[in-house]
């Protein structure tokens, strides 16, 4: 097993440190929002997780195209890694949104276009994992996975722009949203700094997790081929 690259170690440590700083900023540096109170602090990590989820699914889309063009299984490992990480972040995004919605919208869940598209996106990528699980042949698994990742990617821009296309109660903090939205607010400079810092932190965190997960995938594949070799010799 090759040792961990030094740069990866650096990212490991820095993403952990950044996360600590970001948490401190969210709780100590950012001012309390006047109307919503402390629960508004969910916003910083909520959006950042959504952002990381979008990066993950976009990376999976790029990897899928890469695989179909080259047929190199490395693209497939990277694609699977991107989907897995994207799913986790998108899930945290939904759960944190739900925690915020309880006091602000007075409900954990509502069938709003943003919430629906985000759920469909999550389900599509869950289906992606289930599809892969049912296929034994690695090349076929990679091929089917790539096709499904490309088809499913349509849900990603749809989710991103849903609050800008349809009338929805989900607030749009950046750019102008629907006046019907409940819980919108204007950011003060300190809030904006915290927000941008969270986005940066989660981007670094994403890169860190992604790199580690790809490494794991490569090792997994190597073990798989060693097993095959051992079985042939036996």
């Amino acid at each position: 097993m090759p040792p961990k690259p030094v740069f990866l170690k650096v990212i490991d440590i820095s993403s952990f440190t950044l996360l600590l700083i970001a948490s401190a900023m969210v709780f100590l540096y950012a001012p309390m929002e006047a109307v919503m109170g402390n629960v508004q602090r969910v916003f910083y990590f909520h959006v950042a997780c959504g952002w990381a989820g979008f990066i993950g699914f976009t990376a999976a889309f790029v990897c899928a195209i890469g695989y179909l063009r080259t047929g190199d299984l490395k693209w497939d490992i990277a694609g699977l890694a991107a989907v897995e990480i994207g799913l986790v972040f998108a899930f945290i995004n939904i759960v944190s949104g739900s925690i915020w919605a309880r006091p602000i919208w007075n409900t954990w869940w509502t069938w709003d276009p943003r919430l629906v598209t985000a759920t469909i996106m999550e389900l599509i990528y869950l289906a992606y994992l289930m599809l892969r699980q049912g296929i034994g042949n690695p090349a076929r698994r990679a091929r089917f996975g790539a096709v499904y990742a490309i088809l499913g990617f349509i849900s990603v821009p749809l989710t991103f722009f849903s609050i800008r296309i349809w009338s929805t109660i989900h607030p749009v903090v950046i750019g102008s949203g629907d006046p019907e939205a409940k819980g919108a607010f204007d950011m003060t400079p300190r809030m904006l700094t915290t927000f941008l810092f969270s986005l940066f932190t989660f981007s670094v965190l994403f890169v860190d997790l992604y790199w580690n997960r790809i490494r794991l995938g490569i090792f997994g594949e190597r073990i798989e081929s060693l097993k095959m070799k051992a079985m042939e010799e036996a």
């Binding site: 469909i120 034994g136 089917f144």
Partner: protein, 247 residues
């Protein structure tokens, strides 16, 4: 690729002359041949349509008790009930139509024929569309009879047609994936439903709008969405079908 030209180019010229057709006509002919094959097989066995129809009627029956379809509720709910029925019956047919090809090794035979892969896709997809339309053609009058609601509305037929096109276009592609996995039948709905939600939503919206006699201005967005979905997913399936069937 227009009309399987590349495929034909590799064939001996005698075959081309014998066919005596332009590549475009030949392409259409091979699609028609695949559809005809499916229809003939179905006419002889009648297993797929029969199960789809019985299943569709059972779904309506269950809805009747689950939702207490009384007169007042019916006007708003009918479109939803119909589309859930079509979608469920559709999955049944989609699974069967591709499973038959794989189980008996027929797909290998199809792949060996000198036609473009996309012709096979369109043949299967149109075949599935026809089966769905047959089921719908039976379910609609039965539903109107059972619930005393007039469903004879040309606009509704158009909405159903548009919805079914998108559903069978993406369904055919996904079921040719699903039948090649270990979990097969279980997997198709899981793969298909999240991707089909946009078209089902639009179809329900358009159908219920038409049935309630809403203004066309309110219905057009849903119809446009269906057209866009049909075009996008048919072309995506056209592009990727080859990746699914090749070995």
């Amino acid at each position: 690729m227009p009309g399987g030209e590349a495929e034909l180019a590799g064939q001996p010229p005698a075959l081309r002359r014998q066919a005596g057709l332009s590549p475009g006509r030949l392409y259409l002919r091979s699609i028609a041949a695949i559809i005809w094959k499916d229809m003939r097989a179905e006419l002889r066995s009648r297993e797929m349509l029969a199960s789809m129809l019985v299943f569709a009627l059972l779904v309506i029956l269950i809805f009747n008790f689950a939702l207490q379809l009384n007169v007042r509720e019916r006007t708003t709910i009918t479109a939803g009930v119909l589309w859930v029925t079509f979608a469920f019956a559709g999955t049944l047919g989609l699974n069967r139509s591709l499973a038959v090809e794989y189980d008996r090794g027929c797909l290998d035979g199809l792949l060996l024929t000198p036609v473009d892969r996309s012709a096979i896709y369109f043949g299967k997809a149109i075949g599935n569309l026809i089966f769905m339309l047959v089921v719908e053609a039976v379910v609609l009058p039965v539903y109107s009879l059972l619930y005393n609601q007039n469903l004879f509305h040309p606009g509704l037929f158009a909405a159903i047609l548009l919805g079914s096109i998108g559903y069978s276009a993406v369904g055919t592609l996904l079921s040719s994936m699903a039948v090649q996995t270990r979990t097969r039948d279980v997997l198709l709905p899981i793969l298909l439903f999240p991707l089909a939600i946009p078209i089902l939503l639009a179809a329900v919206k358009a159908s219920s709008g038409l049935l309630q006699g809403l203004d066309m201005a309110e219905i057009w967005p849903a119809i446009n969405l269906m057209i866009a979905y049909d075009v996008i997913f048919t072309s995506l399936a056209f592009m990727f079908f080859e990746n699914i069937v090749e070995e």
